[in-house]
């Protein structure tokens, strides 16, 4: 039977050991883990193990395993004693809360690969406690950093990703979510099982892909179904919407909308489709066509169930501001029920830019008064209209210039152009910077594709598993109402307009 002192001594030794090879390190970690599990099961140690001062003797950056296991032990004991999942000791300001935060900010990621389940449990308790304290913001940054510390690529989708996205939405900390959301998800843990695990290299080794240590059996994720996957992308889309990154929002929502399904589509998919239509209008000014991989029955269902959105988008696309207003007004209740009022209002506001882009196709230049003679969403006051146009040009939504008349009471001219040489140069520099970013993203994706190809080529079981995975889409088959959709019932864009 190990004493507390022995545990502390073992932890210090383990933290200071030099690892000659991955094999030796793997062996040491497993031995240490086995020793700790035995020690923690010792009932005689319960009283000392539940004393918070034990953490003062441990350093999670050197030995993450001991700190985490004792932390988990104390959390469990506190929960059992209080008979609820978030006893006072766990609440923010409480001792265990600070210990959890300290651990998540300082854990050693390689050692932690061996204790995935305990790591996830602590993250979940941390998030749940912050929510119960009505301050989810207390957990967002810590959990984000923990996700990226464990796997800087964040390429494997886990239940923690979903928990994190939901937490950021609730806390309204959108930019906090972006470093995780902007890293492409390339794998789900279920994709690694059977023979691959057996042939996988050591957990503590250097791996090109984090799938090697974040597999299904690692414990880093709870069991996932298609619903969690859809929710993550819906929440991600909503977060991008909140920061007006329409392009990424559209991409995330399109992932949900085009999810393979047999039979009826789920509510989450329908909700995403409605948002996707509106985001598409804000991104491109058009009613976008569904991704080609969208099942044909789903396309028809979307069209039927979201008819008001489609009709609104059609009026927008045609630049028919009267029709748009009619449909906007008639759908008011619908937008409200769907928590999309804020988004629809933004679409309405963008109608001016859309209108001017259409006018540009006909006129090279025209005065503000001539412009106001058209059927336009602009205000009738020329000065107010000029101000709106100027802000659209400034924001880069319209390529044009304004020219004041030499007669000071005269009309301002709006001149559509490809821009001056210098503004073209500026535009080209922007495109160049964008291309550089895209290139980096593509490099990452190419590497992931290579890995996937490699996995597929090596493992027959994986192919079988993926084939079986087709039935993964099944939950949506039973009817649209089964998936109640995301539990964020809020119009996050409501006061944008």
């Amino acid at each position: 039977m190990a004493s507390l002192n022995e545990i502390v001594v073992a932890s210090t030794e383990f933290g200071n050991v030099v690892h000659p090879s991955a094999e030796a390190y793997d062996r040491q970690i497993r031995q240490h883990l086995s020793f700790l599990r035995r020690a923690l099961s010792n009932q005689d140690l319960n009283s000392v193990l539940n004393d918070e001062s034990v953490f003062d003797k441990l350093d999670p950056s050197k030995d993450s395993i001991t700190y985490l296991l004792i932390l988990r032990h104390q959390i469990k004991a506190a929960q059992e004693k209080a008979g609820k999942s978030t006893p006072a000791k766990l609440l923010p300001i409480g001792g265990l809360w600070r210990r959890m935060a300290y651990y998540l900010e300082n854990f050693e990621p390689v050692q932690t690969r061996y204790v995935g389940q305990e790591w996830r449990q602590v993250v979940e308790v941390f998030a749940q406690t912050a929510e119960e304290f009505s301050q989810p913001i207390l957990a967002t940054q810590v959990i984000r950093d923990a996700i990226l510390r464990l796997d800087p690529s964040s390429a494997v989708f886990t239940s923690t990703h979903l928990l994190f996205a939901r937490l950021c939405l609730r806390a309204k900390t959108y930019s906090c979510a972006l470093p995780v959301l902007k890293r492409p998800i390339c794998h789900i843990p279920a994709a690694l099982n059977g023979s691959n695990l057996r042939s996988a290299p050591l957990l503590c080794d250097d791996h090109q892909s984090s799938l090697a240590f974040l597999g299904e059996k690692s414990g880093f994720s709870s069991k996932l179904s298609h619903k969690e996957f859809l929710e993550y992308f819906l929440y991600g889309g909503m977060i991008f919407m909140a920061v007006k990154d329409w392009r990424n929002a559209s991409h995330f929502l399109a992932t949900v909308v085009s999810m393979p399904s047999v039979g009826v589509i789920s509510k989450i998919m329908l909700e995403a489709y409605k948002k996707w239509i509106l985001v598409g209008l804000l991104e491109t000014g058009k009613l976008n066509t569904l991704p080609s991989i969208t099942p044909s029955h789903a396309s028809k269902t979307y069209h039927t169930l979201a008819k008001q959105y489609v009709q609104l988008a059609e009026a927008y696309e045609r630049g028919d501001s009267r029709k748009f207003q009619e449909r906007f007004d008639s759908g008011e209740e619908r937008w409200k029920q769907d928590n999309n009022t804020g988004l629809v209002l933004q679409v309405s506001e963008s109608l001016t830019a859309h209108f001017l882009k259409r006018i540009k196709k006909t006129f090279a230049s025209l005065t503000i008064s001539q412009l106001l003679e058209q059927d336009t969403p602009l205000p009738k006051d020329p000065a107010a209209a000029e101000s709106i146009i100027a802000s659209l040009i400034t924001a880069g939504d319209l390529k044009a210039t304004l020219v004041h008349s030499s007669n000071h009471s005269g009309d301002t001219m709006l001149r559509f152009s490809a821009g001056s040489n210098s503004s073209r140069l500026s535009h080209e520099l922007d495109v160049q910077a964008q291309l550089k970013k895209e290139k980096l993203m593509l490099e990452v994706l190419m590497n992931r594709i290579d890995e996937s190809k490699h996995n597929l080529a090596l493992s027959d079981e994986l192919v079988d598993h993926l084939r079986k995975g087709q039935s993964w889409t099944g939950a949506g088959e039973n009817g649209a109402d089964k998936d109640d959709g995301a539990d964020i019932e809020e119009d996050i864009m409501v006061d944008f307009a």
Binding site: P92, I93, R98, A101, Y102, E105, F133, S134, Q135, I137, L138, Q141, V142, A171, K172, T173, Y174, S175, C176, A242, V243, K244, D245, S387, A390, S391, I393, T394, T401, L402, V403, H404, S406, H408, R415, S420, S422, S423, L425, S426, L429, D430, Q432, A433, L435, K436, K437, E438, K439, L442, E443, M446, I449, D495, F496
Partner: protein
């Protein structure tokens, strides 16, 4: 842990430190959890009296750090921050109320109101460095003289600078009083073609047409900081895509 506690003195010092906006934002964002806990204080969701001054300065500073970062999403993020504020601060704190009014004016591109708020609202003493930094009372000429990529991007990013760039892109010819309204200058004097106002613009390379009494802006381009060495990006990307197919 690792970060000194959030104090009034520390915050004042931080605001005056002239840290680059991204670093300032990063540091302040790490304090947000502590501010939330201070606001929650004794379990009440509202800040206790002893912390209200600190919290007011913290959230006002954090608000300005959002604006100073000049990320595409900074205004949306600043808006999200105003939603996270303790309710009592939103309703009663003059500095926070001014922040919210400023955000509304920015959202509505009401330049006159923005300058008015920046100059006349009752900002706490410790916030002055950030307010001034954002308004940036620089000689407009400085923009003209900082032509290298790094120098220019260092100068750009503050409200008056941004407004100058915006006007120079939006207008081919502009009446002085309208230009003055964008830049927070005296509109009445500008309408009278006050030479000192006109000179501010001509120093930036704008042309003053005495006959038409219009200013002709010289476009200012802000090169992307990522442009150096990226001339072959397109070719490289296409080559990479091409290789992938083989």
């Amino acid at each position: 842990m690792g970060l000194p506690s959030l104090t009034l003195g520390g915050l004042v010092e931080l605001n005056a430190s002239n840290l680059p906006p991204s670093q300032l934002f990063e540091v302040l964002s790490k304090y947000e959890a502590e501010a939330v806990l201070l606001a929650a204080g004794s379990g009440s969701p509202e800040p206790s009296g002893t912390h209200s001054e600190l919290l007011s300065l913290f959230y006002s500073s954090f608000f300005f750090s959002h604006l100073l970062t000049q990320q595409k999403s900074s205004r949306s993020e600043a808006r999200a921050l105003t939603h996270r504020l303790p309710q009592i601060l939103q309703q009663q704190d003059p500095s926070i109320k001014s922040c919210i009014a400023l955000l509304r004016a920015l959202w509505q591109t009401d330049h006159v109101q923005v300058f008015q708020l920046l100059r006349t609202a009752s900002w706490p003493e410790g916030l002055h460095p950030l307010v001034q930094r954002y308004e940036r009372k620089i000689s407009l000429q400085s923009l003209r003289h900082h032509t290298s990529v790094t120098e220019l991007t260092r100068w750009i990013g503050f409200f008056q600078d941004q407004s100058l760039i915006a006007v120079s892109r939006s207008y081919e010819a502009i009446r002085p009083e309208v230009a003055a309204s964008y830049l927070g200058l005296d509109q009445a004097a500008a309408a009278q073609n006050d030479p000192s106002i006109i000179q501010k613009f001509t120093e930036c390379g704008w042309r003053w047409d005495l006959e038409s009494r219009l200013l002709h802006p010289a476009p200012i381009n802000v090169p992307s900081s990522a442009d150096k060495g990226s001339t072959n990006v397109f070719r490289d990307t296409m080559a990479m895509l091409g290789n992938q197919g083989h």
